[in-house]
Structures are given as structure tokens and as C-alpha cells.
């Protein structure tokens, strides 16, 4: 075991740092949806032009094809340089694109991958439904086959960036009467198709970042099915193997920075003299360090075996809950000033309110604890 990076890795780190230093935009990401989307696209384009888009995508698809350790280094430097949040490009770069790389036809890849990489096409993810959240296999949005088309009816909800997206990865039930994981298909849906209606939803932080989507006889060419009819569950799960434990590194570096900022603030205001605050800050400093160590351990496991360790769900759960404790501490230190908050502000109050998503979206903390209990400890399955 050792914690040193090799000379080549250090050289690569310097390369990342240099590029980011020159290229990270100095203005913050705008708050309002339309401006934010332009900002996201422009930033993605800049990454693309310099060859930094899709760091974990294979080179043959235009990605950077970095090794896992290089990805860690890039993500650490990215966060350290306070480079922008990936924003609306999240689904395309981290989910839709990888799913196509693993399961798509040559035509699907040729059409979509370059546009995703360059930030030209925005994707959204239509998995969750009003009746299918944690229990994703309860999907009811259905599609019947008519000639060479799918005709979709139903609704999806909590679809992030649906209101600005060009394309959607949509999971629908294509076999009538099928149950649970069977009979689902993963389909590329053009968001501008007639019959698809997007109703944006405002979050309690004031932002409009997700929406409910209604499908009323939406016609999608059969050739937009990815990985075969009825294979939707398998296709949806395949993406998990693409992301090998690097998903939270940027968050973790950001958390470390936020904690140091909070500590400086607590010293400046004298809040550090409060024993409970000092104790909590000390605790979180230890935890931030441990989280990085846990990620390094997981990455080392990937380097050694090609697979992330079974503790990936621990990293996810711990990152989410630590992030929320940091946000609560920020609020505590801010004091009464938080009461001035109003919608339209991108303050620490908005961060705190948005931060509730960390333990809900994409597998809640309760579901993570089930997974840890069952897969790590071998306890009997409850579901």
C-alpha cells in the first residue's frame, strides 16, 4: 500500500491543472434555465474542443479514454479549479452516451455520440414515474407496436432537464401484461415529438430543474430501441458497469473545499469557540479524509481486479449524508441571515434545500442501506 502518485501521474495532474487554470470560466453558472443551458453547452463545447470531453469514453467514440487513476486526477483537479458543474450535460455524458456505447447500434452511436460529447444535444432520463420510484420495476408507461413505430402513452416524473432536453432515454413497457423487470424497453425519444408534453416542476429551492412528462400517442421509430425489445432492464443496468466508482470524486473534493471554507468562517466569526461547532467541524474533517481514502481504496480495487469493491454503495451513502451535514453546518454558521432567502437566489440556503436530493434521487439512503445489509453482510432480502 502507498499513497504516492507516480511521476507520470503527477505530470498528468500538472497538465490538467494548467488547462483548467486557463479555461475555467470566471463567471458563475447562471441561475435561470435558459441562460444556464447556454452556459452548460458552451462549457461542454470548450472541453470538447480541447479533447477533455468524455474522459472515460473510449477514444474510438471521441472520448479521452483516461485510465481510472487519470480520471481520479482529472476530477480532483476539476473540482479544485472550481470548474463548473456538468449541469444539463449530466445525463448525456454520464448515462445516455455510455449506454449507447455499450448497447447501441452503429447508426445510433454515429448519430448521437458526437452530439452528446460536443454539448450540442442535451439528454434527459425518463425512468421514474409517479408510481415507480424506488421500485423502478413498477414502470407502467407503455408502448404498443404499430408497423415500424412504437406508440407511447403514460407519464414520467422528476425528469431532470426535461424542459431543455433534445433527447430522452425512456424506459417503457413494450409487452402488454408483462410484469416487473420483464417486457421493458430502453428507447431514444425525441423530445420534440408531437404528443410529448413537458410540465416543469419548481423545487423547494426555487429552481426549475425537473419536470413531469406526459406521452399521448407519442410515435417513436422502432429503430430507436436500444439493445433490443424487452431488454430494457438489462440495458438500464449496464450503465452501472461503465461508471467505476469515480462518480462522486468531484463531489467529495467540493465537500473538502466547503469544509475548509466553513472552518475559516467559523474562526473568523468566533463560532469555533462553541464546543459543539468545533467538535462537528473536527468530526467532518476526519470524515472528509476518510471518504477520500475510501474512494482511493475503491479505485485501487478497480485497478487490481477491474471491478469496484462491494463498498461502492457505502461510498455513495456516506457522501450523500456527509454532504447534507455540511450544508446544515453552513446554515448554522450563517445564522439569522438565512431568513432573508427568496426564490431566485443561488445562496447556501438554496444549496441546502436542493441538497435533500442527495439521499433521495437515484436510490435513496434507505435503499442503499438495504443493499449494504444484503450484499455486504448477506442478510436476507426484504424485497
Amino acid at each position: 500500500m502507498d499513497i504516492a502518485f507516480s511521476p507520470e501521474e503527477q505530470h498528468f495532474r500538472a497538465e490538467c491543472r494548467d488547462w483548467l487554470h486557463v479555461n475555467v470560466p470566471s463567471e458563475p453558472r447562471p441561475l435561470h434555465a435558459a441562460d444556464a443551458i447556454d452556459f452548460d453547452k458552451a462549457w461542454q463545447r470548450r472541453l470538447f474542443d480541447a479533447g477533455w470531453a468524455g474522459i472515460n469514453w473510449p477514444r474510438e467514440y471521441g472520448g479521452r479514454g483516461l485510465s481510472i487513476v487519470q480520471q481520479v486526477i482529472w476530477l480532483e483537479e476539476y473540482a479544485r479549479a472550481r470548474a463548473p458543474w456538468i449541469g444539463a450535460n449530466f445525463v448525456g455524458i454520464n448515462h445516455g452516451g455510455p449506454t449507447l456505447i455499450l448497447n447501441g447500434s452503429e447508426a445510433q452511436k454515429a448519430l448521437h455520440l458526437p452530439r452528446i460529447l460536443s454539448g450540442e444535444a442535451i439528454w434527459c432520463q425518463g425512468f421514474s414515474e409517479p408510481g415507480a420510484g424506488s421500485d423502478l420495476a413498477g414502470i407502467r408507461t407503455r408502448a404498443r407496436i404499430e408497423g415500424d413505430e412504437l406508440v407511447v402513452n403514460g407519464t414520467k416524473i422528476w425528469t431532470s432537464f426535461a424542459h431543455v432536453a433534445d433527447w430522452q432515454e425512456l424506459v417503457v413497457r413494450t409487452e402488454e401484461g408483462s410484469h416487473r423487470h420483464a417486457g421493458l424497453s430502453w428507447v431514444i425519444c425525441d423530445m420534440h415529438t408531437p404528443g410529448a408534453e413537458v410540465r416543469p416542476i419548481r423545487k423547494m429551492s426555487g429552481q426549475i430543474e425537473f419536470a413531469q412528462v406526459f406521452y399521448d400517442d407519442v410515435r417513436i421509430p422502432l429503430e430507436n430501441v436500444v439493445g433490443g425489445l424487452g431488454q430494457g432492464w438489462k440495458v438500464a443496468m449496464s450503465t452501472l458497469s461503465f461508471e467505476r466508482g469515480t462518480g462522486f470524486i468531484a463531489d467529495q473534493v467540493k465537500q473538502a473545499q466547503e469544509l475548509e471554507d466553513l472552518l475559516a468562517r467559523a474562526r473568523q466569526t468566533g463560532a469555533i469557540k462553541d464546543d459543539r461547532i468545533a467538535g462537528d467541524l473536527a468530526q467532518m474533517r476526519a470524515e472528509v479524509a476518510a471518504l477520500r481514502a475510501m474512494t482511493y481504496r475503491n479505485i485501487s480495487e478497480v485497478v487490481r481486479t477491474g471491478q469496484p469493491g462491494p463498498e461502492a454503495s457505502v461510498i455513495r451513502l456516506f457522501t450523500a449524508e456527509l454532504g447534507q451535514r455540511l450544508e446544515r453546518m453552513a446554515l448554522l454558521l450563517a445564522g439569522e441571515g438565512i431568513l432573508d432567502f427568496r426564490y431566485g437566489e443561488d445562496s447556501l440556503v438554496a444549496e441546502y434545500l436542493r441538497g435533500f436530493a442527495a439521499t433521495i434521487a437515484g436510490g435513496s439512503s434507505q435503499i442503499q442501506r438495504d443493499i449494504i445489509g444484503e450484499r455486504l453482510l448477506g442478510l436476507p432480502k426484504s424485497r
Binding site: 500500500m1 499513497i3 502518485f5 476526519a286 475510501m294 449494504i372 445489509g373 453482510l377 442478510l379 426484504s382
Partner: protein, 301 residues
């Protein structure tokens, strides 16, 4: 950068676990045979980083976590530190010097056959020679005998600050092992104990308690590995990382110790069952080189 144990370290972990299962069963934890100490010495565990063996702290830490998981004698921790740094040779008992500052009396754990005692005096590790044939009586931790010396003998500080870090690191490894033991006991029991016609581990209220135990262990183990490497590398922030490892391992041991008893229900709070051994050991370990807040906050002098 590699934070997974090497093949050799893995082999050592397995060998340690096997040896402990055969020679140091939990059933004997409160009445270890007198000859056990010689066997532990013969296995090399009292002197892994001493000049003769010269292993690194990372290797020592993973082995000590394993020893800790089997509630090995607590004297291993001070002895391993003494073997590397103390001017005296031979078994070192554990000295808690904070108590002696208050009342003049010194608590010494696992004194049988020890020629010296080692503990933390302020920021430095320190040793003292012990009177011969010192023997201990019962303490909170049924696996650790306790002798009291009144008045406390004078201690001799070990000038190298790494000795104190070494002590803190190995105590953290023992605490991690203790937390692991509690987690494994709880998960094993949750699979076999049935109520309402199913294993209690089926119920999320129990499953999630166990999951949190696993999280605490994973967090503490990760930081222990990093801290051990930082000490090996002579990193500037080694003291911070070791303090963090100790803080998280102590918390894991204590919280898991408590949770384990809850998962066991009534039998969990009996003298006969094992869960209380983990809890009580955890309490003892918190007193060995506790993590200092100024170091955790990065403002130590």
C-alpha cells in the same frame, strides 16, 4: 497510489485470522492462558516494525486490525510500539497517564510478565520500568487485567514524535478490529435468530442498524490504511490522518458495540454472551492516545 493490501499483506491477514481462530478463541478472551503471550511473541506480532523485522506500518496496521478483531491482549499495542522505540526490551504493559496526572495513581493494563509500561505523556510516548511480578485484577474490560501503581513512577519520554503516532495508529487498528467483530456478531445473529417467523435480519429496522455498522467499519478501515501509509511515507499531515483514523475507529467500536447489543436483544446484555466484550474493549481503547481536536482542526502548534 494503491490502498488495497498487497498479495503478501492479504496472505498475512489470512494467516493471522486463521491463527487467531485456532489459538485465541473468543471463549477464552476473559481468561487467556499464561503461555499465550510467548506464542504471540513467537509469531512476531510484538515487534513487526522493530529493526529486526522492519515491516512497514501499513502491514502492521492490517495485522493489528485482525488481532483486534479477535480481542487479542491489549498489551500487544504498547509492546509493538516499545519494540520499535523504547530503550528497554521486553513486554510493555499499557499505561494510561492521564489518570495519574489527576490523582497521582497510575493505571496499567495487561501487566502480567511486563518489564515496562508505555503510554502517552502529553504529546510524546513515554515508558517506565515496572516492578517485577506485577499482576492485575479485574477492570471494566474483562479481557484486560488492571494494576494500579500509587504513586505513579516517573516516566521517560521518547523524543521521537513518531512513537506517539505509532501508538495511536495501532490503537486505532485494534478499535477497528473491535468494530469489525461487533458487526460480524450482529450480522451472524440477525441471520439465525427468528421472530415473527423470519430471521430478524429480514426486518429493515435491524438490517439498517447492521448496514450502519458496516459503513462505520468501511470508513474507519479506509482512513486507517491511509494513515498508516502517511506514517510510512513520513508525510507532513501524518498526525492529522492518524488522529482521524483514531477518532473514526473509536466511534465505530463504540457505536457498533452498542448496536450489537441491541441486535441481540436480551441475551446481548448478559455476562455470558460475547457482545459486551466488544463494547467494554471499545471503552478501554478510547483512552489510548485519543484524537486531539486541535490536530483534527489543523491548528496544532
Amino acid at each position: 497510489m494503491d490502498l488495497t493490501p498487497s498479495a503478501e499483506q492479504e496472505a498475512l491477514i489470512t494467516a493471522t485470522a486463521d491463527w487467531c481462530a485456532d489459538n485465541m478463541p473468543l471463549e477464552q478472551a476473559r481468561q487467556r492462558p499464561i503461555a499465550l503471550w510467548q506464542e504471540l511473541e513467537a509469531m512476531g506480532w510484538t515487534a513487526m516494525t522493530a529493526p529486526d523485522m522492519g515491516l512497514d506500518h501499513a502491514t502492521e496496521a492490517v495485522v493489528f486490525a485482525e488481532l483486534g478483531r479477535h480481542l487479542a491482549p491489549v498489551g500487544l499495542v504498547p509492546s509493538a510500539v516499545a519494540a520499535r522505540w523504547s530503550p528497554h526490551a521486553g513486554k510493555a504493559a499499557l499505561a494510561l497517564l492521564d489518570g495519574s496526572l489527576e490523582g497521582g495513581m497510575l493505571r496499567v493494563f495487561d501487566p502480567h510478565g511486563a518489564v515496562q509500561a508505555l503510554g502517552l505523556a502529553g504529546h510524546l510516548a513515554a515508558t517506565t520500568e515496572l516492578p517485577r511480578d506485577l499482576d492485575g485484577g479485574p477492570s471494566l474490560d474483562p479481557t484486560a487485567s488492571l494494576a494500579r501503581l500509587d504513586p505513579a513512577p516517573p516516566f521517560e519520554a521518547i523524543a521521537d514524535p513518531r512513537a506517539a503516532l505509532h501508538l495511536q495508529l495501532l490503537a486505532a487498528a485494534f478499535a477497528l478490529g473491535c468494530a469489525d467483530a461487533a458487526r460480524d456478531m450482529a450480522a451472524a445473529y440477525a441471520k439465525v435468530r427468528e421472530q415473527f417467523e423470519r430471521p430478524i435480519g429480514w426486518f429493515q429496522a435491524i438490517k439498517h442498524i447492521c448496514a450502519d455498522m458496516a459503513v462505520r467499519c468501511a470508513v474507519a478501515r479506509s482512513q486507517l490504511y491511509y494513515a498508516a501509509c502517511a506514517l510510512d511515507a513520513g508525510a507532513d499531515d501524518a498526525a492529522f490522518h492518524i488522529a482521524s483514523a483514531k477518532l473514526l475507529a473509536d466511534q465505530a467500536a463504540l457505536e457498533n458495540g452498542r448496536a450489537n447489543i441491541q441486535v441481540h436483544g436480551g441475551i446481548g446484555m448478559t455476562d455470558e454472551a460475547y457482545p459486551h466484550l466488544c463494547l467494554k474493549r471499545a471503552h478501554l481503547l478510547t483512552f489510548i492516545a485519543p484524537a486531539r481536536r486541535d490536530i483534527l482542526l489543523g491548528d496544532a502548534a
